[in-house]
């Protein structure tokens, strides 16, 4: 039996499409379902576009990283850019961020499962089972995981088309989308802007796996397409839910996407929303698997392991992430106050990492080129 090498790389062909799919799926993780009625006012549609443009700036900085030769060299590349201690500091900083992200998305998803699909089951089981599946996925190694994103993308993008009927409903009226600009003495929506920006976050984690993406100079093109698709999807879903509920009814609804799905009717199967929720699971599982692999990689950097990667190591990382998630879910995630706290926390960290990580890398590259030349 050949040695298990989770982080091996065999292929060298160009793979811009993987980056495209990865960027898009990581961006569509939150708002699609978790971010409840954050964008209730019609004028927030403009915020989506504005934050999409801001996100494009971050992606531009990211593409600078992909354009350097360092990005294709894996560990050596980082070492040249940040130095040995720098990497350790970065790995240490990334661990809590990854854990928070994993916990947040898995608990949020578990809660939806719990509320709509299996109300009589404990929420914790909805965390344990996906984690087992994710660890199984992660065992296939990073290279296979990166390729698998194609399946995930095709397996979830169709949900988008399920929302088309909501544009044709009789009870819709264009007046539900007005006013388009904020009017009157409403509190400035900086927090909502932050939510939208953090819902575009996620691609910054691509830095950690750039080695497997076989980066090249054209990466910006793929990232831009992915970003445009995400903006389109967010706009589409927001407009659909505004038309469906109206801007006064929408704020009272916690999971607009799911509630909209419940209105679909099929002659064969009554609860179409169950299928939709299960389909969302695809990208959730995938992201958790990807992040667990990253946690394993980061912790290996920290403890200076020279031996090859092992299954046990990965499973231990997965279990650690699951333990953190279960702890938060069990004791620190009461609906209401604490849940809002986690949403806020995720919103802040998501926005911060999306802005700072590409910036940091960009500055490092600038400094590097200045010192070498």
């Amino acid at each position: 039996m050949q040695a298990l090498t989770l982080f091996r790389k065999t292929s060298h062909q160009e793979s811009g499409f993987y980056a495209l799919f990865l960027t898009n799926r990581l961006q569509m993780l939150y708002y699609m379902i978790v971010m409840p009625s954050a964008l209730v006012q019609p004028y927030m549609l403009l915020a989506i576009v504005a934050m999409g443009v801001a996100s494009q700036l971050c992606l531009y900085m990211l593409s600078k990283w992909f354009a350097t030769p360092c990005s294709a060299q894996g560990y050596q590349g980082y070492e040249r850019l940040f130095g040995k201690t720098g990497i350790k500091v970065l790995a240490l900083a990334s661990l809590p961020l990854l854990l928070l992200k994993i916990s947040f998305i898995s608990i949020s998803y578990a809660e939806i499962m719990h509320q709509f699909v299996f109300p009589s089951m404990d929420r914790e089981w909805h965390i344990v089972f996906p984690f087992i599946l994710s660890c199984y996925l992660a065992l296939f190694g990073m290279e296979n995981m990166v390729r698998f994103v194609t399946v995930v993308f095709i397996g979830t993008i169709w949900i988008f088309f399920m929302y088309i009927p909501y544009f044709l409903l009789q009870s819709n009226s264009i007046h539900d989308l007005y006013p388009l600009i904020p009017v009157g003495p409403e509190p400035f929506a900086w927090k909502s802007l932050l939510i939208v920006f953090s819902s575009f976050s996620g691609p910054e984690f691509l830095i950690a796996i750039s080695y497997w993406l076989n980066p090249q100079r054209k990466m910006l093109k793929y990232l831009t397409i992915a970003n445009a698709i995400s903006i389109g999807e967010y706009l589409f879903i927001s407009i659909a839910s505004l038309l469906f509920f109206g801007s006064k009814y929408l704020p009272t609804i916690k999971y607009p996407n799911v509630e909209i799905g419940r209105y679909l009717q099929s002659p064969i199967f009554e609860r179409v929303d169950i299928i939709l929720i299960s389909a969302y699971m695809f990208s959730f599982l995938y992201s958790i698997a990807l992040f667990v692999l990253m946690i394993y990689g980061a912790s290996r950097l920290l403890v200076k392991m020279r031996t090859s990667t092992t299954r046990i190591g990965l499973i231990v990382s997965g279990c650690a992430a699951m333990a953190v998630t279960l702890t938060i879910s069990k004791w620190f995630w009461e609906p209401g106050l604490q849940q809002d706290f986690w949403l806020d926390l995720q919103m802040w960290t998501g926005s911060a990492t999306y802005l700072l990580v590409p910036l940091l890398v960009w500055i490092a590259i600038k400094r590097k080129t200045r010192t070498t030349s």
Binding site: Q115, S171, H175, D176, P179, I181, F245, G246, Y249, Y263
Partner: protein, 333 residues
Amino acid sequence: MIEEITPIIFWAVQGGGEEDGKITISTLVPPLIKEKKRVLSLKVSLLNEGNKGFNLTYYNELKAGQIRLLFVDEAYAKRGLARLINTVLTDPNISQRLYLVITKGNFNEFLAKHLGETDNIDYYLYRMFKHYEKKKQGEITVVNLHQFMKMLYSQVSDPQLPVFRAEGEQFLYEGTAFFDRDSMVAEIRGKDDQINQLLYRDRFVRYLVLPDLAVTLGHIRAHTSKKLNPDLSSLTIDIDVKGRIDELNSLARIEDTFQFAALTQKIERYLEEKVIRLLSQMQKLQIDPLQIGGMTTKPFSKPISRDTWDRHWSTMKINVKVRLHLEPLTKVK
């Protein structure tokens, strides 16, 4: 497994007038199985108390997941539906497509007359609403839970619901109930109801019966354009009606084009008058079941408040213009 549960198709809620605030909730079991039916009826103070109580009086577990209709007594609706609707709305098993219906008369007695083994009255009622819900059927008002909630939540407008009367073995469509926020305040019937259908979202009416003019218009398709003055002082409604004359007491009256034009004009005036009467009734009650207030939102200005809208709406001048495009009669003698 499946034999051990009984899905139910409707709930009927009555009462609420007593001092203790109790309501009577009833349903019919079993649905669709060829078995003697029973009316289950309980006097409770909370809706789900009834739900639980049914399970204790019947040998199967009743599942609300398939519930399709909610019949609410007129008296209950007049006191406000919000509490009832909220209960139904929070149950994740209950579909948003649940039809809401206001009933008059003794609904339980009507049910009691349909207890035969093959008489699936509950299912037939559901089929009826399902049929008329389709876009191009302007026969009866059909409103589901989601539409009701959307109308209720929209800042300046009010919901409407269909009204049925249970009378002996019959269940008759009476008209449309208008609501002020969540409580029923008025009911319209007959021609008014049909005009309401034309003005609202169902823009197709199969027959527009006008006994006053001894005329039946058929296959009516109306295009309504409503325009509000910027200062909310007047509302202009243009209605283009396409259709044909299906019935006329004396065909001799329209033998030549002059007479035909005269008849058309007469119907136009008549309809205009009816529309104005209906709208002024709404104005008097300060309700807006036609969602005209929704049109006050504009891309770049602040939405107006309910009070402001009520003030403008109750004094608004209404101009109605009906244009009738009737197909000329052929092959009649």
